[in-house]
Amino acid sequence: MRIKLKIWRQKDAVSKGSFATYELDNISPEMSFLEMLDALNKSLVEKSLEPVAFDHDCREGICGSCGMYINGYPHGPVKGLTTCHLSMRYFKDGETIVIEPWRAKAFPVIKDLIVDRSAFDKIMIAGGFISVSAGAAPEANSVNVRKKNSDAAFDSSICIGCGACVASCKNASAMLFISAKISQYSLMPQGRPEAKERVMSMVSEMDKQGFGNCSNTGACESQCPKQIKLVNIARLNREYFKAF
């Protein structure tokens, strides 16, 4: 495959960035998107040029590091995939691919495609935990949980905190992320004692970090690589009202 890349280059957090254009030959359709970027960086280093900085870690779709905005889609045009799982076979030969960093006030660009997502960490520090000492795993039947609840808690717990919800939302809202975390704890009996304090603290921190407000457009749900559902946002709202 032969592709043309338009990539956002920005020296550091304070410098003004711009797009740089690169052309790549011999890209295999079996390559992952990140492998393609590795190939680009290899060619840049060979020419003594600065490689493109991008976040990545596990390359297995579970760490949430590799977020980037590809051709107008967070994580690219394929639903339910992180950028590391995105394969080059989803692009056409000769296609121009535009790659931008996540854009949100709460996610400032550090360099090139890397953004500072510590706003999510701050929200988690505010209340995204169970503070009691849980001890060893209890006997399975000693704490009864409805199957429906445990399934829903599990489905929301698979949120990897990549920020695609913020990146896709026209308001840069973090409601889907927070709602997944709130659901994960509030649906399980261990999370109930601190449910009120948790939801109040996390929402307050979300507002403080400068995320936008949810306007129920559903872009977050459609772009979430882990397919977290909007029903979690309704649950977050319910938990918030119950906390009054």
Binding site: W8, F19, Y69, N71, G72, Y73, P74, P77, V98, E100, R103, A104, K105, A106, S168, K170, N171, A172, S173, M200, V203, S204, M206, D207, G210, F211, G212, N213, C214, S215, N216, T217, G218, A219, S222, Q223, L230, V231, I233, A234, R235, L236, N237, R238, Y240, F241, F244
Partner: protein, 214 residues
């Protein structure tokens, strides 16, 4: 406590409640407007007079005006915050799958606000005595207005946009109020669609009937 009252979720909660109250008012308004289709102006004028003078209606009117004000003010504040949350825009337009009805709710709402101001000048401010006009015969005022082609077009465009706004409104309010259910949410969506088609169509039918067939 202030933090809680002015949090993003609280603001949306208040907006949803105010919007839901406005949803209740529209069928009442449509019901009264249907009297415009009668040849006799008396029933409509009596209904208008009743709405202007009955004490209980006056109380509801204050709540209604407050709901309109809260819905608009919170809507503007939330929208400004939303714009501020992404100071640098994307170079490529966001192509994420999204509901256009929700996406453009602020703009459809803005157009409805412009119409509301015109509507207030034509009727409500006359009733309050703030603007000169014939407060005893709103029937003839309405009939005259609907015969002006420019006004009729503006009226139809605004009610088309109101339909789009309403389709978003009810289901969005339910989601904001925490009501999302595997079985009931599709029913809410269906109800939103029926309401969004029926109410604006009713208003448009009255205007068109008066302009072309009366």
């Amino acid at each position: 406590m202030n933090k809680v009252l002015y949090s993003s979720i609280s603001k949306k909660f208040v907006m949803a409640l105010a919007g839901s109250f406005l949803l209740l008012f529209l069928p009442v308004h449509l019901g009264i407007n249907l009297l415009l289709l009668r040849e006799d102006p008396a029933p409509f004028n009596q209904a208008a007079h009743f709405m202007a003078t009955f004490p209980l209606v006056k109380i509801v009117e204050i709540v209604l005006l407050a709901a309109i004000a809260v819905h608009i003010i919170w809507g503007i504040i939330l929208q400004i915050q939303n714009w501020m949350s992404r100071p640098v825009r994307y170079n490529v337009r966001n192509r994420s799958e999204t509901s256009a009805f929700s996406k453009f709710a602020f703009w459809t709402g803005g157009t409805i606000l412009i119409f509301l101001v015109i509507h207030f000048f034509n009727f409500y401010f006359i009733k309050l005595g703030l603007v000169e006009g014939n407060a005893d015969n709103f029937y003839s005022v309405a009939h005259q207005l609907f015969r002006i082609k420019g006004y009729l077009i503006l009226y139809l465009v605004c009610f088309f946009l109101l339909g789009i706004h309403l389709y978003h409104a009810f289901q969005s309010a339910c989601q904001t109020l925490g009501l999302n259910h595997r079985i009931w949410t599709p029913v809410v969506k269906l109800f939103s669609l029926i309401y969004a088609l029926l109410i604006p169509s009713g208003f448009a039918y009255i205007a068109l009937s008066i302009c072309f067939f009366n």
